[in-house]
Assembly symmetry: C2
Homo-oligomer: 265 residues x 2
């Protein structure tokens, strides 16, 4: 099967115009089929603050009230998404920016209210991905650029985690393509020693993951990311690569500098 | 050839949630291939004001400085576009929201600075429309929803008049489809007497247009609209219909209540 790269970028790239330009240049230099998923970054918080809408977070997740939903729809779906698309077009990459509402691409489900009411926050599963549309866009030579918004099919947009979108898209398309999921973050990879940038763990699989957990070397924030990555490879994704946005071209072309998560050791 | 409707809505529909919902319900009830083009409305001005960015207009056109471009990218490309798409999805209409940067749909050109510097305002011609992409989306059963933004291919988004986008798209696709362009505005049609809502002129063509001009019955604001409409039909659009958003279903299904602009009398 043909390779398909699903690349997720977050605030550390989006919030830095120079870093974003460098990243997009590297990304567009790599041949092949690609889907880019972006998070929001600080712009939404800044715009919200200017509009007098304070951002609220619980356990690192934004609480999306109606006013905040308007802000993230503007900033993620409009400002961030369209600027990335315009830049990719300049680089000769035929990008098309979409939210989950567009073409019914991602049908999310409003998160149930339990201890916390996350508001208009949505969760999405691989079964909720409109595979046919993504395949037709990819086969037409387009590169989908996905904003972290889904819709519930009843007229409601939902703020949705970009890591999750990248993962469910990769899983959903793993029957059609050899899907490689790349999470770009601020470190070169998963580090054995957070103080040592050179301590990148080359590979993580279910076997050595248990070992690493036992050794207690993994940063707390990495554990949910790795569990998601292990879930994704279990569900059909060929590999998940966790690395720096700066190493995107190397990580996509086999000269891997980050951490690869695989199904088997 | 199959019919294709290109429908343009502006502030009088977008700014009124109830009117917009009614319009989208009527529109989605009419079968056939459709493209919706929307303007911005007052939301951009409101958001701009809240962000401390004053809107400037010269001759009814917004001056788009860098800060204003950010606002319109957020509001037109994000908030307005995605809310329309989500509502159409609810109505069973497979809408896909796009700007001119998406899939290189509309390659605009920054307006040359002469007496007035319009800033990041773009003009677009029928030759700048990515016909292949629009046809493939339409043939896949999707309904493109276009925000009034183009890009210059060099990474720059450009604020672009929605009436013009609707017109160039209709012209560009007139080889593939029998294109019918519908401009929705606040009146039922072009009025012979602005004080009399029932004085709708049923048809305007190059012959009676000269007559109407001579009679001096046309409102000043209608003249550029009608000249654009006459240009469009001359360039291949089957007809241009000027009418109320409330009459959209009637106007699309032949029970015409507005003004039809045709090539010949």
């Amino acid at each position: 099967m043909e390779n398909l790269f699903i690349i997720k970028i977050g605030g550390n790239v989006i919030d830095d115009a120079g870093a974003l330009a460098d990243f997009l240049r590297s990304l567009s230099g790599v041949e092949g089929k690609k889907i880019l998923v972006h998070g929001g970054g600080k712009v939404a918080t800044q715009v919200g603050d200017q509009l007098g809408i304070a951002s609220q977070y619980v356990n690192g997740r934004r609480i999306t009230d109606a006013a905040t939903l308007e802000v993230v729809t503007m900033v993620y779906g409009g400002l961030v998404n369209k600027n990335i698309v315009a830049q990719l077009q300049q680089l000769g990459c035929n990008a098309i920016g979409l939210t989950g509402a567009d073409g019914n691409l991602l049908r999310g489900k409003k998160r149930a209210v339990k201890a916390i009411d996350y508001g208009f926050a949505g969760d999405v599963l691989a079964a909720d991905v409109n595979r046919a549309l993504l395949v037709s866009l990819l086969e037409a030579g387009l590169m989908p650029v996905l904003a972290p918004l889904t819709h519930d099919g009843a007229g409601q947009l939902l703020n949705t985690n970009a890591d999750t979108i990248a993962s469910v898209v990769a899983v959903a398309l793993s029957g059609q393509y050899t899907t490689r999921l790349l999470y770009c973050f601020e470190k070169r990879g998963v580090l054995r020693d957070v103080a040592d940038e050179d301590s990148v763990i080359a590979e993580i699989n279910p076997t050595n993951y248990m070992q690493l957990l036992t050794e207690g070397v993994l940063a707390d924030g990495m554990i949910p990311k790795l569990e998601n990555a292990l879930e994704a490879v279990k569900a059909g994704v060929a590999e998940v690569l966790i690395g720096s946005a700066k190493d995107i071209a190397a990580n996509m072309t086999g000269e891997v500098r980050g951490t690869v998560v695989r199904r088997e050791g």
